[in-house]
Symmetry: C2
């Protein structure tokens, strides 16, 4: 492992710890002061769905993109936690019987299995709402304009024109296979939008000029594309391995993807090109962007 790769792994682990602690605090009954009570069962369901040892890759991108511009680290931690609330709400709702119908996530029962469906729906709704509460709060110590920009950008990345819309396109794709442009749009919305938002946050938090914002925004899009391509490539390889003995859900996991359409060689060449583009985008920041660049390499070459 190169020194840069080691630094990246260390940073990922350190950020993961910071996020875990941040989420634990934000999702504790004591932190939630207010006039009314927080129902214990709902809070327990939320904690079950969030504090599950996830890699916290999106929050990592928030923290590192903020470091790149020497932005407010404490504010970034709150924004990173808010983003993870959105990601986790989407997983809780995705796992529901009416959606992907999954019983397990990270080896533990999904929220609707550990609690019940109604509680899982409400836990997701509450987390989605809480994300905006966290950013709007004055404890996210940024000026009002920056907080509003973050709220707008997050709402767009998560909503009808972003993640939720992408999930709806995914439901449609099960009935009618999308063409190449359709797949690109679906993936950019479903998984790309939140990853791009994560990379943009640093520029918003540090109030950079438009050029820095655009570089980070494009870097986020590039990482999102690499993330999805690598995922689809892993699925294709898994499908090839299990060919003939695949059953149920595993069958055709790699279908309806650009990788299934163009093949593994094309995907690997495309991933190389994306890592090169990431390097060009981050070039002006020199060594300071080393960890982010390594993150792009990691995403493009991961094997699980």
């Amino acid at each position: 492992m190169t020194t840069a790769a080691q630094k990246f792994k260390q940073s990922l682990a350190a950020n993961q710890d910071a996020i875990e602690k941040g989420l634990d605090t934000l999702l504790s009954a004591e932190a939630m002061t207010g006039e009314t009570e927080r129902p214990a069962s709902l809070l327990a369901a939320i904690r079950h769905g969030v504090l599950n040892g996830g890699k916290r890759f999106r929050p990592f991108l928030v923290l590192e993109s903020t470091r790149l511009f020497d932005g407010n680290a404490e504010a970034a931690l709150r924004v990173a936690c808010a983003l993870e609330c959105i990601h986790c709400y989407s997983l809780i709702h995705d796992d529901l019987p009416a959606m992907d119908d999954d019983d397990l996530r990270r080896g533990r029962p999904t929220v609707h299995k550990a609690f019940d469906e109604a509680t899982a729906i409400l836990a997701g709704d509450s987390l989605l709402t809480l994300a905006f509460d966290i950013i709007a709060d004055a404890r996210t110590d940024l000026n009002a304009d920056a907080r509003l920009k973050l709220i707008s950008a997050l709402a767009r990345a998560a909503g009808l024109g972003g993640m939720a819309g992408g999930q709806a396109l995914d439901l449609q794709a099960e009935k009618t296979s999308p063409d190449e442009a359709g797949i690109v749009t679906l993936q950019a919305m479903k998984t790309g939008a939140l990853i791009r938002f994560a990379c943009e946050t640093g520029a918003i938090i540090a109030n950079t000029d438009q050029e820095d914002f655009s570089r980070l925004s494009r870097f986020g899009a590039v990482i999102g594309l690499a993330f999805q391509l690598a995922d689809d490539l892993l699925d294709l390889k898994a499908d090839e391995k299990t060919l003939g003995k695949a059953t149920g859900k595993d069958t055709g996991r790699g279908k309806g993807t650009l990788v299934a359409m163009h093949g593994a060689d094309w995907a690997e060449a495309r991933l190389d090109a994306l890592v090169k583009e990431a390097a060009e985008l981050l070039a002006p920041y020199g060594e300071k962007a080393g960890i982010l660049l390594e993150a792009a390499r990691f995403v493009a070459t991961r094997e699980n």
Copy 2:
């Protein structure tokens, strides 16, 4: 009907028209400009769940409380629409099989019946997200601090310590009957929080002093209490009428309420007292508050 009551009915109808048009515009594909597409089926499900001829009582309170302080009417219309998006998302999710399992709302198929469950979940999620998008947007022509205050207050009214938390308490109440304090908390969160927020918005939009804000906030709490009491009173009367022939869902609709606990006479005396308190709270604004006061009377005495 008194002149005041007529004015109230006219205002309710006029505001309903304005909200219907506002929502229709905000939920049209053309209004949703952006880099990505809005999936047609998801947008159709959202429109089905929102543009259903509701009374728009919460938005009415936003518009009238803003008029009381001569606040920005266009901004108030956007805030009112955002609030209605939250209310409608909660109805879409409430109607799901895992929650209340309702097939009809206002005589039309519920969203999961007209579309499917997955689409209904995503439609609710998208509407919830869109509410914050609408308020954060610069087209909601208020200064950044006011927009942030509205976002914070809405998130708290809708989330874990508000509406969603109240729904979780309601689920618990089906298993273990809450005591009187428990019922008060449940109702204040489940239905009270959004109504109170609606009344507070005028003070936030017009940037009033703390005293005006407190008056409107308490007025909102009073209207919320009256709304719930009147509802429970109607249920009690309906239960009495259908006693012996009630089946399934209708049985005991009035159970677990303050009205069931203390009786109809107590409820009517309490409603009178709430209307008196509303009048005292609005007294400093004289005739200007006539429509809001009439709204309190209407809520307390409605017969359906």
